[in-house]
């Protein structure tokens, strides 16, 4: 069984890059372009990891994170928050709300890959 990732991002080009990276790592990738879509997607199917942008239409990343973390069925789910805001306060808030990691845009795809592997316990050379 393969791992599943949910990418929550409203910038189509960033979605494109994240999709590509996660597939490379062997994930099945689902995409949501705003907060509501993200929550709906999680209701349907709990992924192994969520890449969550903060500045989103409708519900922002913080709200989504909080809701996920209050959902008992999502306890094992890992969250990496991605933000174009670089303020320390945002990082602290994200971690406090239950995010596992916080990355500032622009991020390195390599670091992202390492983090994803570390969080999900993915073997070094999974997938193809």
């Amino acid at each position: 069984m393969s791992y599943t990732a949910l990418v929550v991002e409203d910038e189509p080009n960033i979605v494109l890059s994240l999709q590509f990276i996660m597939r490379q790592l062997g994930f099945t990738v689902r995409v949501a372009s705003d907060g509501e879509q993200a929550l709906k997607a999680i209701d349907e199917f709990v992924p192994d990891i969520v890449l969550l942008d903060i500045m989103l239409p409708k519900r922002d990343g913080f709200q989504v994170c909080e809701i996920i973390r209050n959902n008992p069925s999502c306890q094992r789910l890992k969250i990496i928050m991605l933000s174009a805001k670089s303020r320390e306060a945002d990082r602290d808030k994200a971690i406090a709300l239950g995010a596992d990691e916080f990355m500032t845009k622009p991020f390195s795809t390599r670091t992202l890959g390492d983090l994803v592997k570390k969080l999900t316990g993915l073997p070094e050379k999974a997938g193809g």
Binding site: D10, E11, N13, I21, D34, R87, K105, P106, T109
Partner: protein, 918 residues
């Protein structure tokens, strides 16, 4: 008569005066007897009768008849009818250790040095004519006496100089030296000068006896008694007029002179000094109330007989009537009586000069020089020295200075006037003090400002209507000053101010000066609030009887000063030995022992202040004592009185309330400013954070795809192409964003390089549309263009105008109906402006956001919630550009749905101003 005889007799007389004063002062026993004597006191008040009375009254009687009388009527009325005024003033002077009239006024109005100084200046200038009158009479009588041929020949006043020198100057200097030696032997001015008073009383006897001698000689020696004299005179109709009351304007001048002399008997500095300051017992005033008028009556008995005798004797020739008293016995060859007359005149003049100059010198020293000196650095460097020598020097210099001033006035102005006319000028000056003094002791509401305004105004009018014209008449100012007014201004003629004509000069001057004086005093007093100390002083003066009938003042000082310090301070002004004595007296009187290190209690401090006040005036004394008593002056009485004045407390709390309201308002303003700053600060933070976000987003794609392409050399050709496209478009986006940011920053800072020219709007709109036409077609949008064929050119930057069109149209593309998009671009010519609208058929702008969308980085979600493309700077830039062109831009919703963006471009206004700028 031999001049050496006259000079010898004169100096013998002056020596006698000195001896009397010295004898009285040095014999304690004699002093006690004399100082407890109401007759001596009354006789000293007769210093009122000067050579004006001795020579001038006769002169006046001989020319205008009974006119000489009102000058004595006024004082008589004051003494007989209103002695309580004097009693009150005397009580106040004793309570407050007042040393002079200036001290009295300054003490009443809050112990301010400024008003004391003003009174002093008025007194000195006002007394100048009076002193000059005395100098003139002595010099003239002396010259007549030593040159008179006698033996039935008419005496003439010889022309100067005699002895190759100015006799008047010699007289002035002699009198100055005499007065200086006489009046300033010791310093404490309010300690009574029994010697001086005794000498003045003696002079009053001498002048009375001398005048009576001449009168009896004239009446019985030359003529056969009163009946004979009046019968002879009544034959001559001219002379008969003299002893009947004149009619016409005579009445107004009678009233004027009576009022004036009433004021003068109180307000002349020397009368105030002798009557109030030198008074030993209040009860003496009761005797003086009838004795002094009696003296005036007696000395006036023979005025008319001598005047008539003179007129009869010198009927054929012109002889100065002012000198009848002397020339009559000379004419009839009675040397002894002539000499007695001369000595009488001398005594009348010297008594006035001595008392006036001492009183004035005290004022100059205490109320003019000392207040200035106390402030000077020179003085502060001499903290420890004994200053009694300095005080004496100041007073002596002042006396000399005052006499020189009197002499100066004599030289400049008074040679051509009769004695009485000169004297009346001085009376009018002294009368200026009357409102401040009389008002001050009866009206508590009178304030410092009122007093100083009234005094100042009255004095200025006096200067203008009496003093300056007297200089003009003597040729020291152009005659036109009197006849045509200054600079030809008729209504400013000094003898007919504001066209007031028909009064004699004196009445005219008194009317205007008193109108200004009393008016200013009254009105300003009503308009101003007295300070605490003024209120206290006002109460002390007005209620002096009520406050002093009970026990002694329970004034109480708080502070810490030792007996030694106090003694040292007072000693510097009063003399160390004298203070030691005074303190010992105080100790025995109060049954206490005083040690140097002991701290001073209230009664000793007040005692010391009174001692000091005697030497340097009450205002200065208060400052000095206040300077050594640490802490403010707080007397229980003062506190009660101040609390009594609830109005002041209320006023104070009202002020406090106002202050606190002001503070509150200021705090609110500060808070608002602070909030605004915080807002601006957070706006700046938001802006930076938005900029950061907007820059990072394209950068994220760039970096991600760059790395992907690097790490995955084996991606398909199709994917590679897609990723490279992303890199290119995101690079474009980044570039555009940076350009817009820079443009916006430049526009906001006013540093944008605009290239203004006459722009063809048709062409510009077409260019803008052209840039987007591809996108419009791609999205299948219906685009309608509605532009008149001929439009006026506008003054604008062509590229920026196109930018506005592009921004608005691309917004419309983003927000129009996604499936059946429609966009209208219309231009209307309104004459003075072009109106350009861009409409779409989207959802429109939510009402609360109509303004917000023009702010930086405001982004609206596009249809379907997807994130709109764009920086969020477009509309902000549009607004900057349109505003710069002089137009407006706004958004509205169409009734059919959809948004409409409107902007205007002015056609002429902008154009002409831009042309002017070229």
């Amino acid at each position: 008569m031999n001049s050496s005889v006259v000079i010898t007799v004169s100096f013998l007389y002056l020596g006698l005066l000195f001896a009397i004063a010295h004898y009285v002062d040095s014999r304690a026993g004699v002093r006690r007897v004399l100082s407890r004597n109401p007759y001596i006191y009354t006789l000293s008040i007769a210093v009122y009768c000067t050579s004006w009375t001795f020579y001038g009254s006769v002169g006046r009687a001989a020319t205008t008849g009974l006119d000489f009388l009102p000058i004595y009527l006024g004082p008589t009325l004051v003494f007989v009818l209103w002695p309580f005024i004097w009693i009150k003033i005397i009580r106040i002077c004793k309570q407050n250790r007042i040393t002079s009239i200036a001290d009295f006024v300054s003490s009443r109005y809050g112990k301010r040095a400024s008003i004391g100084g003003l009174v002093t200046i008025i007194a000195v200038i006002g007394t100048m004519p009076y002193i000059s009158l005395q100098l003139k009479s002595i010099a003239t009588s002396f010259r007549i006496l030593i040159t008179s041929p006698g033996g039935g020949r008419v005496p003439e006043i010889p022309v100067e100089p005699i002895f190759f020198m100015d006799t008047t100057l010699i007289v002035a200097i002699t009198l100055a030296v005499f007065a200086a030696l006489f009046g300033t032997r010791h310093i404490d001015a309010s300690e009574h000068h029994e010697g001086l008073v005794a000498a003045i009383a003696f002079e009053s006897v001498v002048k009375l006896v001398a005048f009576l001698t001449v009168g009896i000689f004239a009446t019985y020696g030359i003529f056969g008694g009163f009946t004979d004299l009046f019968q002879r005179a009544s034959v001559d109709p001219q002379l008969r007029e003299l002893f009947t009351v004149s009619n016409g304007t005579g009445y107004s001048s009678w009233i004027t002179m009576t009022l004036l002399s009433m004021a003068a008997i109180i307000c002349l500095p020397r009368q105030f000094y002798i009557t109030a300051v030198e008074n030993a017992e209040e009860s003496y005033m009761r005797k003086a109330t009838w004795l002094f008028p009696a003296y005036l009556l007696v000395i006036n008995l023979f005025v008319l007989p001598i005047a008539l005798g003179g007129r009869l004797a010198f009927s054929s020739t012109e002889v100065d009537a002012d000198m009848f008293v002397l020339t009559l016995p000379l004419y009839y060859d009675h040397g002894t009586i002539s000499l007695i007359a001369f000595i009488g005149g001398l005594s009348a003049a010297t008594s006035m000069v001595i008392v006036a100059s001492i009183a004035l010198a005290t004022m100059v020293c205490n109320d003019l020089v000392m207040p200035l000196l106390l402030r000077s650095r020179w003085f502060q460097n001499r903290q420890a020295e004994d200053l009694t020598g300095l005080l004496i020097a100041i007073r002596r210099t002042s006396i000399l200075f005052i006499l020189i001033l009197g002499y100066g006035y004599y030289r400049f102005a008074s040679e051509s006037y009769s004695l009485v006319t000169i004297g009346l000028v001085s009376f009018a000056a002294a009368a200026q003090f009357a409102p401040a003094i009389i008002g001050g002791i009866f009206w508590q509401g009178a304030t410092f400002r009122g007093a100083i305004c009234g005094l100042g105004a009255g004095f200025v009018v006096w200067l203008y209507t009496l003093f300056l014209p007297s200089l003009a008449q003597s040729g020291w100012l152009p005659d036109a000053f009197i006849s045509e007014g200054p600079f030809g201004l008729e209504w400013l003629k000094p003898y007919a101010l504001f066209g007031l004509d028909g009064f004699d000069r004196l009445t005219h001057a008194l009317f205007w000066s008193m109108l200004a004086n009393i008016g200013g005093y009254w009105v300003i007093s009503l308009l101003t609030q007295p300070t605490a100390i003024e209120r206290i002083q006002a109460k002390l003066f007005v209620d002096v009887f009520r406050l002093t009938e009970g026990n002694t003042d329970s004034g109480y000082w708080r502070g810490s000063v030792t007996v030694g310090e106090l003694q040292q301070l007072v000693g510097r002004f009063v003399g160390v030995r004298r203070v030691e004595q005074a303190f010992e007296e105080f100790a025995t009187d109060n049954n206490v022992t005083l040690r140097k290190g002991q701290s001073v209690d209230s009664s000793l401090l007040e005692y010391a202040e009174r001692l000091l006040a005697g030497a340097i005036g009450s205002a200065t004394a208060r400052v000095l004592i206040g300077s050594i008593v640490k802490g403010e002056i707080v007397s229980l009485d003062e506190v009660y009185r101040i609390l009594d004045e609830t109005s002041q407390v209320i006023e104070y709390s009202h002020t406090l309330e106002q202050k606190s309201a002001q503070l509150q308002a200021a705090t609110e303003q500060l808070q608002m400013a602070n909030n605004r700053l915080k807002e601006l600060d957070s706006l700046k933070d938001d802006f930076l954070s938005m900029v950061s976000h907007e820059l990072r987003t394209p950068l994220t794609s760039l970096r991600a795809f760059g790395e992907i392409l690097q790490d995955n050399p084996d991606v398909s050709q199709q994917e590679r192409q897609q990723f490279l496209n992303v890199i290119v478009t995101e690079s474009d986006r980044l570039t555009r964003l940076i350009d817009q940011l820079l443009d916006l920053a430049k526009m906001e800072a006013g540093r944008m390089d605009w290239s203004l020219s006459d722009v063809n709007v048709n062409a510009a709109v077409e260019d803008g549309v052209q840039a987007l036409i591809g996108l419009v077609r791609e999205k299948n949008i219906d685009f309608y263009l509605d532009i008149p064929r001929f439009l006026p050119t506008v003054q604008a930057d062509r590229d920026q105008l196109i930018q506005v069109i592009i921004n608005l149209v691309s917004n419309a593309i983003k927000f129009c109906d996604p499936y059946n998009g429609k966009i209208w671009l219309k231009v209307r010519d309104e004459g003075d402006e072009l109106i350009i609208t861009v409409e779409d058929n989207g959802l429109g702008v939510p009402a609360p956001l109509k303004e917000k969308i023009f702010e930086r980085f405001h982004q609206s979600a596009a249809i379907g919630g997807s994130k709109p493309q764009g920086s969020g700077l477009g509309l902000a830039i549009c607004r900057q550009i349109v505003t710069f062109f002089g137009g407006r831009i706004w958004a509205e919703n169409m009734s059919a749905g959809g948004a409409r963006f409107v902007f205007t471009l002015p056609v002429e206004a902008r154009g002409s101003s831009a042309l002017a700028g070229d």
